[in-house]
Symmetry: C2
């Protein structure tokens, strides 16, 4: 195209892509470039703003290393990560939510009824429920991975005072689909504010807090894998999660118990648990594989 | 917002921004996030594609250093840099075009009629014209900066065989607005293909070539500064510039001359120039300051 103008540049981009471009690549790029061009046109973006945007991307790159990915965090606080989760979620079953950057492979096995609290500080919680299919039937042999923060708001891989797999577990449910384990209440925490993401949050008057939550990955043959997180109903940041992860169906009721008779059968922690503590009853529903 | 959905997440983002966010920041972010969210919804972007996008950004960061900015190059090949130029261009006067990454400060003074070719290989060109206002009157005291590639397609700051300011000059025009200088024909060149930008070009079957061009920055008191580049009319990449910089009004006619009588008066190179050589006559028009 000899004369590129602000009105034909999007078409010029498409014309430059060869006809044998893989169709999905072409479609995704067409949409991306069309939206970026519209963004520039609708804002009459100045050179100074364009440079500022590029500087933010450069700084985001500078903050990113194998231990910390500031691009993922930027995607999180812009709502992009959560939106990608949502457009890929099946209509049935428990909603998915952001995986986050703190998952690690190799969580230790935890029997049904096992204790993940061990000697961690924090309020004790017994979490139980069933893994079910959309008809409400238990799913035999579902596998559950759990990870969460310690009472100081840090995950084990952020905190060298914790052992590698502290507050991480892997449960294989039985034929009844039941899972249960004891742990501590997770703590709210802030996303890191020392990089471009912090700059963005401050420029828009947003706080960096995430509501406290337990992470779950649940898998079972014949079902879609579920990556999600669940939130205590009394968390103060439930209505304003910095990374847009909360869904009404992912809110767990924490019930305060003042009597040890409320401890379910089969809990390893039963002998040493004293009231008060919390119980949570929460079922996960997996969608069938497409 | 307690239940974020794919339909309300854009509004949730806006609700989270505080009311005292600087209005332009809010507007630009609103447009950016709206378009990025629409992009995810319209493509049903998969997790794998989202990760691929983040990986490309990470690699772009890895390739970027004080000597080379892969983010700018990515912006260039997506047409964003050129579009930012266009939305900021006045309606009157010579169109602007991309500054590019090869400009350096401190180009040496060149008198009107001076020689920038020196002992560079390449076909000799005499470039002349006037700097005018929109009424066609010469602009006294306009300043012109010029930079270009050597015959090997490299700028002096890409090539340690060239001196620091080779093929760079700064001309102060006189009362008649006339500029003229001798140089060599610039050479077409490729944008670097060893990073994510190269990956993008290959994935879409695009070549990495830019048509040959001379860069100009022209400034004068009372007028808008013009950053532009001009292209020989016979360049084979004129209709498909990898960075979308070509405008019809920026195409210069290179006229082949077979007689030294075609050398204009006042050219320093006159004594040693032999035919054939090229002449170019091109006027620049500066818009008045807003």
């Amino acid at each position: 195209m000899r004369t590129v103008t602000k009105d034909n540049i999007t078409q010029a981009f498409l014309d430059y892509c060869s006809d044998d471009t893989e169709p999905r690549v072409r479609f995704v790029l067409e949409k991306l470039v069309s939206h970026l061009h519209d963004f520039v046109r609708e804002t009459n973006l100045t050179h100074a703003e364009w440079r500022k945007g590029l500087e933010l991307l450069e700084k985001t790159g500078d903050m990113t290393d194998p231990e910390r990915n500031e691009f993922v965090l930027m995607s999180d606080v812009l709502g992009l990560s959560s939106l990608v989760d949502m457009v890929n979620s099946p209509d049935e079953g428990t909603p998915s939510s952001v995986l986050g950057p703190f998952h690690i492979l190799g969580a230790p096995d935890l029997p049904v009824g096992g204790d993940m609290k061990q000697d961690n500080d924090g309020a004790a919680v017994i979490v139980k429920g069933h893994v079910r299919n959309p008809d409400g039937e238990p799913i035999k042999g579902a596998e559950i991975e759990i990870w969460q923060t310690a009472d100081n708001g840090l995950y084990s891989n952020q905190d060298n005072q914790q052992t590698e797999y502290n507050l991480r577990g892997h449960i294989m449910v039985g034929d009844d689909g039941l899972y249960q384990f004891s742990t501590i209440r997770p703590a709210p925490y802030t996303v890191p504010g020392d990089g471009p993401v912090g700059e963005l949050l401050r420029a828009t008057g947003r706080h960096p807090w995430r509501p406290s939550h337990l992470h779950f990955i649940i898998t079972a043959p014949g079902y879609r894998s579920l990556v999600t997180e669940v939130f205590p109903s009394d968390d103060e940041y439930l209505d304003e999660d910095a990374v847009f992860g909360v869904r009404e169906q992912l809110v767990m009721e924490y019930v305060e118990q003042n009597d040890v008779t409320a401890i379910p059968d089969g809990m390893e922690i039963a002998e040493r648990l004293q009231a008060p503590f919390f119980t949570v009853d929460f079922d996960f529903v997996l969608a069938e594989e497409a």
